[in-house]
Structures are given as structure tokens and as C-alpha cells.
């Protein structure tokens, strides 16, 4: 009896999990479906789910109108560059906070996080003026630095949490064996924290990929990534939902594929140390 109840409960939980998963994924699915409709079908009421004449016309229009590869390449450089740079700074920072904490470590961590609470538009003008002075406007180098800075608090926090799960005695043993600080971080700490580092890298890459305030405001032509590509298809005066959906699908496809293939690492990293 008890076993039957457990099996039923399990089935219910599974169904509920699938339902929640489907609800979360539904907006993306709807965007993908809309991208294969005509503009008239895209706004039909009641909405058409699957029963429509599938067309690739929107993709062909988007390809014809925009240089997708240029936007994609910029997105890869900006997301990749800011992630690598951020990780290079965050690993030593998180190491020092996790293994050599001071009285002020908690305060520093909170202060770092508090910078995320400032609305981005509040510092738009200072940063814009700084970019003009430094000649960084519409440059990938400038954007890599900005994206790295805005995501750095999250990387440090995540790595700090993962590092805290690693027993300090292992690092002490490495030190007693004569490992230098660099060797300790590179050959002892980093391999042990690989799942955590991998999920941090992925999360940061996704955050940088989707960032749509600075990437729109600090770029024009040369450094514009896929967020600018999508923005060029949105219009308050004209129904371009099918084309906008095609552009959105093209913009999210790479990150969706990356997320799909790395979901094991992502889940493992995000749940690292969750059960004690």
C-alpha cells in the first residue's frame, strides 16, 4: 500500500516537474513557432499553435536585411572575453576570501553585491563620457571590460561559495609539500572546483550574452552584438512579430545549444555543496 502510494507520488511529482518545465520553456517554444508563421498568422486570434503553413520567409528576410554573422561574432567575443577576464580576476579574489578571510571579508562580499543594486541607467552618462574620452565607444574591448565588471560580483560570490566547500587542509598539505601560491591555486584548488568553475563560467557567459542595456547603449556598428540585432526588429508602429521571432530564435539558438550540451555540468555546479 505504502509502496503504491510512493509510486503514485513519484509519478505525480514527475508529471508536475514536466508541467513546470514546459511552462518555463513555453515562451521560447512560442517564439520559435511564431518565427515560422506569416505576420498575419502571428497575430491571429485565437492564436494558432501548430496548424499553420510553415514558412522560412522570415528567416530569409532577416538574413537579407542584417549581417547576422557579424552580430554573432561580436556576441561570442563579448561574452567569451568578459567571462575569461572575469574568471582570471575572480579565482584569486574568491580564493583569498574563502581561505584567508579577514574581519572585513563578509562586508566586502556584501559591498560587491550591492553594486548590482544600482540601476544601470544611473551611471550611463559617466560611463558614456568615459568611453568617449578613452576612445572606447563602439569597441569590443570597452564592452568586454564593462560586461566583466558588471558580472564580476556574481562570479566572485559563486566561486567563493564553491571554494568554501573545499577543505582548507588539502591546500595546507599542498603548501607543506612545497607548492607555491600559484601552484596551489592552479594545480590543487582549480581541479577540485572544476564543476563549480564550469557552472560559473557558463552562467556568466549566458548573462553576458543576454546583457541588453550596455550592449545597446555603448555600441553602434562595429561592436553591436545579437541584442542589437534583436532590437532592430522590434517596433511599436508596425506588426513585425514573425520577423522579430525569427531574429530572436537566431539570437538565442547558440546559447540554447550551449546550455543543452552543458546542462549536466551546469546542474552539477549549481547544486555543488547543496546537500550536506
Amino acid at each position: 500500500m505504502a509502496r503504491a502510494a510512493t509510486t503514485q507520488r513519484k509519478a505525480l511529482n514527475t508529471a508536475l516537474a514536466w508541467l513546470i518545465g514546459f511552462l518555463i520553456f513555453f515562451p521560447i517554444l512560442w517564439t520559435i513557432l511564431t518565427s515560422f508563421k506569416t505576420e498575419a498568422q502571428a497575430i491571429a486570434s485565437p492564436p494558432i499553435f501548430l496548424n499553420f503553413d510553415w514558412t522560412l520567409e522570415n528567416y530569409s528576410v532577416v538574413q537579407e536585411r542584417s549581417d547576422y554573422m557579424r552580430f554573432l561574432w561580436n556576441s561570442i567575443i563579448l561574452a567569451g572575453g568578459s567571462t575569461i577576464l572575469g574568471t582570471m580576476i575572480a579565482i584569486p579574489a574568491a580564493w583569498s576570501m574563502a581561505f584567508v578571510p579577514s574581519k572585513r571579508t563578509k562586508d566586502i562580499l556584501l559591498w560587491m553585491l550591492s553594486t548590482k543594486m544600482l540601476p544601470a541607467v544611473g551611471v550611463l552618462y559617466p560611463i558614456y563620457l568615459l568611453f568617449i574620452q578613452l576612445g572606447l565607444l563602439d569597441s569590443r574591448a570597452g564592452l568586454v571590460i564593462v560586461l566583466m565588471l558588471i558580472n564580476l560580483p556574481i562570479i566572485v560570490w559563486m566561486l567563493y561559495t564553491y571554494f568554501r566547500e573545499i577543505p582548507g587542509e588539502i591546500l595546507e598539505a599542498a603548501r607543506m609539500d612545497g607548492a607555491t601560491l600559484k601552484e596551489e591555486i592552479l594545480y590543487v584548488l582549480t581541479p577540485m572546483a572544476i564543476p563549480g568553475i564550469a557552472s560559473t563560467l557558463l552562467l556568466n557567459f549566458i548573462l553576458a550574452w543576454n546583457e541588453a542595456f550596455w550592449t545597446l547603449n555603448l555600441t553602434a556598428v562595429d561592436a553591436a552584438p545579437l541584442t542589437a540585432f534583436i532590437a532592430s526588429y522590434s517596433s511599436p508602429e508596425g506588426l513585425f512579430f514573425a520577423k522579430l521571432s525569427a531574429a530572436s530564435t537566431m539570437a538565442i539558438a547558440p546559447i540554447l545549444i550551449l546550455g543543452w550540451f552543458s546542462q549536466k555540468q551546469l546542474v552539477r555546479g549549481l547544486t555543488f555543496g547543496a546537500v550536506k
Binding site: E39, A40, I43, A44, S45, R65, L124, Y125, Y128, L129, I132, L137, D138, L216, N217, A220, V221, A224, A228, A231, S232, Y233, S234, S235, P236, E237, G238, L239, F240
Partner: protein, 434 residues
């Protein structure tokens, strides 16, 4: 012999270098709408004529506004041409942020620009942006539903007639709403509509001392009339409907009437997108007999930011894009219904264009709008659906949020107006107007 060869080579090199120096690449920030996208497709024609290349930065309207405002106020220099509207042009022109367009060629024929457009894009008589296309607002209505209701739309109806017709056309069982109007918060969305409507009810934003006027009967009448009519005959959730939502409803045959931008006429009469394309009529925006109609005036225009290093190429582009030749080019390739409307007088004198069903009503609507004299009682500002002062966009966004909350039933009309009065007076006091 050797000397003459050397001279020839030097001359050739000099000509080539000069040619290269003249061939610029200009960067243009523009808005994503049908006419602008069409223009991008014809860029090759401009390049072939002038040798200049063009890089486009196309953005959604609100993003574009923020982007170009940031750039011009900081002298960022990211763009050589900016697409801006009637609200920004006189303010930016007065601040010296734009290059005056007072040196356009004789062939361009600047005198052919519709006077209402030229006036709205000028400051103290100097043109600062050339209109690419212009629009007013008008009534678009279903001729079949009007006939079924046993009514006939006058060319220049009153608001009372519109309310009566809307009620008669409403058929909730068949999902037909008598009237669809903007209610969405935002100064360029529902804010623009209600401001233009209020002009016809004798309301104004400010008196001559810049005091807010939301505590007047004229504003109460405007809002009560709007909400009463929309509750009776409007679509569900009209408080969140903007241009696109109403366009979608109208194209699917779910609106009896729609009062909105004249450019929408080409969308609702296009059989490939609209299910009611063959039964759409047009009329002037309504009034209440006080001498002002409820139509607005707007233009998307091309301007050159002061400080650009490519002023000559930018001027050449503006002359090309807003010329009579460009209109001819589009007409030849895509038909007269697709040419950018509302910018040039000569377009409305063209016999081919006269056969376009909405051409005359668009012109009549534009000609009946006067940004310098938009209210029944005198007002200190220029503009019909806006007041051309820098503070307006922020104030009107907040005010329109209060109005939308009243439409949605979250507060009463009286509460919304009281809040609008306080918001506006506080902001104007802080800005030093009062």
C-alpha cells in the same frame, strides 16, 4: 617625356586621392518601421550616385530615442545622421546640437516640404531636420459595419457621433468592438492620443504661466468621455492597448472604428495582412465644435548632429532620402501606396498618388493640424500631442500612467487628474518654469 609622365602620374594620383577622400562611410541611427526599412533597401542607389557608403543602426523607437539622446548630449559622435521626431527637433535645434539645414540645393526644393512639417521641424524659422515621412491621425472605420448599423460617417464627425456609432457597431457576441483607441501608458502611446483628444475638448496642458490645467472641467470632460465610451464599446483590456495591439484587432475585423496614425491606412488596406482591406473608410479625427480637432502631427525626420566630421556626405544623404526622386524611385519599384507620405506638397499634386484611397484624407488631416496653435485657449507651448519642452517626456509618461490606471479601474478619473495636476506642477516648479 619623363617629366610629363611624372606629371601625369602625379595628377592621376592626386585625383584618386581626392576621390577617396570624398568617399565617406556615414553611420545612420534609425527607427524600425516599414518606410525606414524600405529606404535601407535602396541604399545602393545612393552609393551609386555619390560614392558614399552607409552603415545602418536600426533600433526600436524607445531604445533609439535613449541612444541618440545620450550620444548628442555628450557629443559622442557615434552617428552622422539621426532619425528624430518633431518633439526633439526644435529643442535640439535651439540648443545648437543640430546642423541647420539652410544650405540645401536648389534641386532639392525645400519649399516643397509641407508647411506644417517644415514648421514643426524648425526653430526660429530654421529647418533642423528634413521630414522623411509625416503623419497625422484620422478615423479608420469599417464601411460594412457602419452600413449595418444604419449610420453614415461624415467627413468631419463629432465625438458625440463617434460614441453613438461605436455603440451601434459593437457586437460583443461576434467579438466586434465599436471603437479601438490607445490606452497604453507612455507619452508617445496613450499619452499622445489623450492629449490630442483633449485639445478638441478645450483642454490644454499649461496656462500661459506654465500652471498645470488638469483641474479644469475640460480635462475632466475629456477623460470621462474617453473612459465612458471605451467601457461601452471598446475592447477588453484597452488600458494596455497601443498602436500595434489596435492594428492587430482592426486587421482581424474586431474594431468598428480606430482613430490613430495616418500611416496605419496603408497597413489596414493591404490585403496580404488585413482581413478587412476592402471595407475601410476614412474620416477626419473628431471634434466637439470648439474649433480644434483631435488629430496630431508627427514626422520622422533626418538630422545631422553638430560636430560630425562627415557633414557633406550626411547632407547629400538627407537630400537623396527626402527628395522627390526618392519618392519616384519607390513608386516605380513598389507602387504609389508605398511611398513615404506626408512630407512633400508635390506628392499630393501627383495624379498617380491621388488614386491612393487614403491620400486625400491624410493630407486633409495634416493640413488641419497646427502645432503653433493647438489649443482652444492660448497655451505657451508648441506641439499638438506634446509640449515641445525637454521636461515633457518625463512628466507625460508619469501622467499617462495615472490615466491608464484610471482606464483599468484601479482609480477614479478624479483621482488620476488630481495626481496628474500634482505631478506636473511639482516637475514644472523643480524645472524653474513656475
Amino acid at each position: 617625356m619623363k617629366l610629363s609622365n611624372a606629371l601625369r602620374a602625379a595628377t592621376a594620383l592626386s585625383v584618386m586621392t581626392t576621390g577617396a577622400a570624398f568617399a565617406d562611410t556615414i553611420t545612420i541611427a534609425t527607427v524600425n518601421n516599414g518606410d525606414m526599412i524600405r529606404m535601407q533597401g535602396y541604399t545602393d542607389d545612393f552609393t551609386a550616385k555619390t560614392g558614399h557608403d552607409v552603415e545602418w543602426v536600426t533600433l526600436e523607437e524607445n531604445v533609439l530615442r535613449q541612444r541618440v539622446t545620450t550620444d548628442i548630449t555628450t557629443k559622442g559622435g557615434a552617428f552622422d545622421i539621426m532619425t528624430i521626431g518633431m518633439y526633439e527637433t526644435p529643442i535640439w535645434g535651439a540648443n545648437g546640437w543640430l546642423v541647420p539645414l539652410d544650405n540645401l540645393s536648389a534641386e532639392y526644393d525645400a519649399g516643397d516640404i509641407l508647411p506644417a512639417m517644415a514648421g514643426g521641424l524648425s526653430h526660429e524659422g530654421t529647418l533642423y531636420a528634413a521630414p522623411f515621412y509625416g503623419e497625422s491621425s484620422m478615423i479608420m472605420y469599417r464601411t460594412d459595419l457602419m452600413e449595418k448599423a444604419g449610420m453614415q460617417m461624415p467627413d468631419a464627425p463629432t465625438w458625440d457621433f463617434i460614441r453613438e456609432a461605436a455603440a451601434a457597431m459593437t457586437d460583443r457576441d461576434n467579438e466586434i468592438n465599436g471603437i479601438c483607441l490607445r490606452g497604453k501608458a507612455g507619452w508617445g502611446e496613450g499619452g499622445a492620443f489623450i492629449t490630442a483628444m483633449s485639445n478638441s475638448f478645450g483642454a490644454r496642458w499649461f496656462d500661459m504661466e506654465w500652471n498645470a490645467q488638469f483641474d479644469t472641467d475640460a480635462w475632466a470632460n475629456t477623460l470621462n468621455f474617453y473612459k465612458g465610451m471605451m467601457d461601452e464599446s471598446g475592447p477588453a483590456g484597452y488600458a494596455t492597448n497601443g498602436f500595434n495591439e489596435n492594428l492587430s484587432l482592426f486587421q482581424q475585423g474586431k474594431c468598428g472604428m480606430w482613430i490613430d496614425a495616418t500611416v496605419a491606412a496603408s497597413f489596414v488596406t493591404n490585403p496580404s495582412d488585413s482581413t478587412v482591406a476592402d471595407s475601410v473608410g476614412f474620416a477626419l479625427a473628431p471634434d466637439t465644435g470648439l474649433g480644434k480637432r483631435s488629430n496630431w502631427l508627427w514626422a520622422w525626420a533626418l538630422a545631422i548632429p553638430a560636430g560630425t566630421q562627415k557633414q557633406d556626405a550626411a547632407t547629400q544623404f538627407i537630400e537623396w532620402a527626402t527628395s522627390k526622386d526618392y519618392i519616384e524611385l519607390v513608386a516605380a519599384k513598389e507602387g504609389w501606396a508605398n511611398v513615404p507620405p506626408g512630407a512633400r506638397t508635390s506628392l499630393y499634386e501627383n495624379e498617380n498618388y491621388k488614386s491612393v484611397p487614403f491620400a486625400q484624407m491624410t493630407l486633409d488631416s495634416i493640413l488641419s493640424a497646427d502645432p503653433n496653435n493647438s489649443t482652444v485657449e492660448p497655451s505657451p507651448y508648441v506641439g499638438i500631442q506634446f509640449a515641445a519642452i525637454p521636461e515633457f517626456a518625463g512628466i507625460a509618461t508619469e501622467v499617462s500612467q495615472e490615466f491608464s490606471a484610471a482606464y483599468a479601474g484601479q482609480q477614479s478619473v478624479e483621482e488620476a487628474l488630481a495626481k496628474a495636476q500634482a505631478i506636473t506642477n511639482d516637475a514644472m516648479e523643480a524645472a524653474g518654469y513656475r
